[in-house]
């Protein structure tokens, strides 16, 4: 398949997740020569995702084909540690549970249709630098011997692993406190009360810092998973215990897929570019720190990245200073808000089960949705400050 590949490109994108495919597609649409390389044998599989996509993200993605959308989601049911629940109505902000395997392939196909060269089983093994500037990549096209490919700009969209940035000299190593452990079963034959809503379970014994989720993909099929902070026991241990303690849902269930993954829940980078280089999506820790959703973030970042790279290529200046507009635009559009959500995460992880029960009783559906988007912090602070013990913690929100 060497014949598919030219010696040089305007842009080489490493990683064909949503971040990489969307960046490649946008740049190809703008007339640039683009090579999109994915190391896995099959794009999108196995998934590292609960496959939830909110409608605000659906708007960005455009016309998602029917075969990618498994189920429409109209709201959420959130359980506090004491077993009480709050209903969150998404209203016009509902969403879908996707089939990521189909969805990621669709995005890669769209990139290909736009004119990008897309190749699976093709690992980017290293970054070529000359005089401190990124000039291209080394890659094994369809598993063959390593070759050099030159490129005006290299985009690292290599997900959680984020090795490409580090090889290029951009330190994206995330600290342990900013990475949640994720583990999930896709399960069949479940007894779900309300398969049109996602169900979330909070509690320090259930999932330290994080939560257990049930994301329905059908009437009796769902992704049942957990995201949790560093603790004595593994994420798998916590999820297995949860499943065993809920026979009303799981007693007849089967497991049709097993997934695990790391979820960046903070550690946003002020500088995500180098000369001739930038990073998007999980590779740059662009994930919502409270719910762990990264599909929308990767897509928004891809949009911004493509716009900036296009301008830089047209001007013939792909230096750090020129590409730095990506930092400015991303921080303005997403970073500032996500930083607030990161603070919210740092506050909620200090709360006891009793505090969480109290919050569940005091906060409305609108406030809960607002919080996940980086607003309504004042409302939360007021509720926390009613308890003298929590005043100090509440201050961290600002």
């Amino acid at each position: 398949m060497r014949a598919f590949v030219k010696d040089s490109y305007d842009v080489v994108v490493a990683g064909a997740g949503p971040g990489g495919s969307r960046t490649a597609m946008k740049l190809a649409e703008l007339g640039h020569s683009v090579l999109l390389l994915e190391k896995r044998q099959e794009i999108g599989a196995p998934k590292r995702c609960a496959e939830g996509l909110t409608l605000t993200a659906v708007d960005i993605m455009g016309d998602i084909p029917q075969n990618c959308k498994m189920r429409e989601i109209v709201g959420a049911k959130v359980y506090s540690p004491d077993g009480n629940s709050v209903l969150v109505h998404y209203g016009k902000h509902g969403g879908y549970c996707l089939e990521r395997k189909q969805f990621d392939k669709w995005l890669a196909c769209e990139a290909s249709r736009a004119g990008a060269t897309v190749l699976a089983n093709s690992e980017v093994t290293d970054v070529i630098k000359e005089g401190g500037r990124v000039k291209g990549v080394k890659a094994r096209i369809c598993g063959e011997d390593e070759i050099e490919i030159m490129s005006s700009v290299v985009v690292a969209a290599d997900g959680i692993e984020s090795t490409i940035s580090r090889k290029a000299g951009l330190d994206t190593t995330n600290s342990l406190v900013n990475v949640d452990s994720g583990f999930q079963y896709e399960m069949s034959n479940l007894h779900m009360e309300d398969p049109d809503k996602i169900i979330l379970y909070f509690g320090n014994d259930i999932a330290p810092r994080g939560y257990v989720w049930i994301f329905p993909k059908g009437k009796d099929v769902a992704n049942v998973g957990i995201g949790t902070a560093l603790s004595e026991k593994s994420a798998k241990h916590y999820l297995d215990r949860f499943i065993e303690s809920h026979p009303e849902i799981f007693k007849d269930a089967g497991i049709v897929e097993v997934n695990s993954g790391g979820i960046p829940v903070g550690g946003f980078l002020r500088d995500m570019v180098l000369d001739g280089f930038l990073a998007v999506g999980d590779a740059a820790h662009q994930v919502n720190p409270i719910h762990g959703g990264g599909l929308k973030e990767a897509s928004v970042a891809a949009e911004i990245a493509a716009k900036v790279i296009h301008r830089a290529l047209m001007e013939g200046d792909v230096s750090h200073d020129s590409l730095s507009e990506y930092n400015d635009l991303w921080w303005k559009e997403r970073g500032e808000r996500l930083k607030k959500v990161e603070k919210l995460r740092q506050v909620t992880e200090k709360l006891s089960d009793k505090d969480l029960n109290m919050l569940a009783k005091s906060l409305t559906s609108d406030v809960l949705i607002g919080l996940t988007r980086g607003s309504k912090m004042g409302t939360l602070a007021k509720v926390l400050m009613k308890n003298p013990r929590l005043i100090g913690i509440a201050r961290h929100l600002f």
């Binding site: 995330n174 583990f183 790391g262």
Partner: protein, 58 residues
Amino acid sequence: MAWEIDREKCLRCGACVSVCPELALNLKEEGVLHDADRCTSCGICGRVCPVRSITVVK
């Protein structure tokens, strides 16, 4: 010093790769590759692993 992985347990998710400060890990289709020359046995990779398939002994 020893870094060990239980390849039956490992689900090839890459979480360990993301936190290794030495860039000593690389995820391949067939599993995690470990570069013993780079590894300092800090143990961080094992702590993030969702299924605890890595053991590091100082």
